[in-house]
Symmetry: C2
Subunit: 216 residues, 2 copies
DNA sequence: TTGTCGTAAGTAAGCGCTCACTTGCGAAAC
DNA sequence: GTTTCGCAAGTGAGCGCTTACTTACGACAA
């Protein structure tokens, strides 16, 4: 059973680097430190190995939740957006592969999409709650705003190592500015912007436990 | 000379669909309606054919420019963003491929990045001009705001056919909402939002010629 | 007008290599 | 003694690329 796990992880790594056609059974076996024939005894086919690998080792992401009752939108959004970005960033190679090979292997991209899909739904709901609780004056399109923040974070995580010049200097800084901008766009009142983040976080650490900052 | 052009275009199409390894010389020749050996007589190598194909048929994009002197930010930005989105969308398959195969073929992605890079620089400059001309009160980070709008448009163009549920119903509608949101975030005063776009466009059509709406 | 070139293209066969996958056999561990 | 694994060898297919030969066409001198 141990070899099976090792093969799945190795297959996911090799697939992310070399794509479906480039993921030769020999390369996967070498990556796993296993004889090539073990692949066929365990999985029968290269195809089933790779599909199982993406389904199990793909971007799972522990369900990130925004609070049911918003208290400090800026702080809550920033924590959530930070972990979302780090999740997307951690599996950026795999996601890029799945997106580019969607026409040839649709099932693979379906596994990789669940993360952003859930995130978009979650954020959309949160913005709706902001509106219901009076944080937002006037009417806004929650879907467009959610698509905007998710799209920005997605683009940052996917494109920063390819085009570093167009993004703010550090990811942490970037996420903070993105969340601030989207809240301004929504008309949510903000604290004094010069204060930085530490002060806000400390004042609300009790009311809302901070999400784990799992950069990898 | 005609076959050479045909081969370049066919190679770009095949590469976008099947990637480098999947772009066999036989497939490219079939796609171009040409004998396989013509590839080697014209280009010598599969590698040079594909590199020339991406360099020449890649997302070139006629330089989209934002006005040097901003007059109607909402209208100008929306026109610009619409053509930007349609350009990115038109070559989304190729761009996805180049991004996912950047580690194995760095030169290919370099060709595909020029578009977004230029767009980001252009937008950043425009936001700076908005600030200099007094459209924006207070200090804003032009780079973060530019990254946000570009990232949103990029994500919309790249992800809409994969995850249609998370984006506003139509691309036109989406771009309008994105630009409105970013201008709100920047604190640029807007016209009455219920009025739609046509009225604004007509009032300023003389001062600033409209960008061509080149959906393909 | 005829004959002789050069050039661009097609046809067919094949080379050496890698691919996914198979078979048969022996060693070790439970 | 059954299961799990490694090892060696091999199969048919497809890969990039080459070779040898043929076909069509336009230019140009005799």
């Amino acid at each position: 059973m141990e070899r099976r796990e090792e093969l799945l992880r190795a297959a996911a790594r090799v697939y992310a680097r070399h794509g479906y056609r480039g993921s030769t059974t020999r390369r996967i076996a070498d990556e796993a430190g296993v004889n090539e024939i073990t692949i066929f005894r365990q999985f029968g086919t290269k195809d089933t190995l790779i599909h199982e690998a993406i389904a199990s080792c793909g971007p799972s992401g522990p369900t990130m939740e925004l609070p049911k009752v918003p208290v400090d939108p800026q702080h809550e959004l920033q924590q959530w957006a930070t972990t979302l970005r780090s999740h997307i960033y951690a599996s950026r190679s795999l996601t890029r592969r799945c997106m580019s090979e969607r026409e040839e292997h649709p099932q693979l991209s379906a596994s990789a999409n669940r993360g952003p899909l859930r995130a978009a739904a979650e954020l959309q709901g949160y913005i709706g709650r902001l509106q219901a609780r009076g944080f937002i004056e006037g009417n806004v399109d929650a879907k467009a705003a959610a698509a905007m923040l998710i799209g920005t974070i997605f683009s940052d995580a996917m494109g920063r190592d390819i085009m570093p010049d167009i993004y703010p200097s550090t990811p942490t800084d970037a996420v903070q500015q993105y969340t601030t901008l989207i809240l301004k766009a929504l008309g949510v009142p903000l604290r004094a912007s010069g204060a930085g983040v530490a002060a806000q976080a400390s004042s609300l650490a009790i009311a809302q436990p901070a999400a784990p900052n799992s950069f990898t």
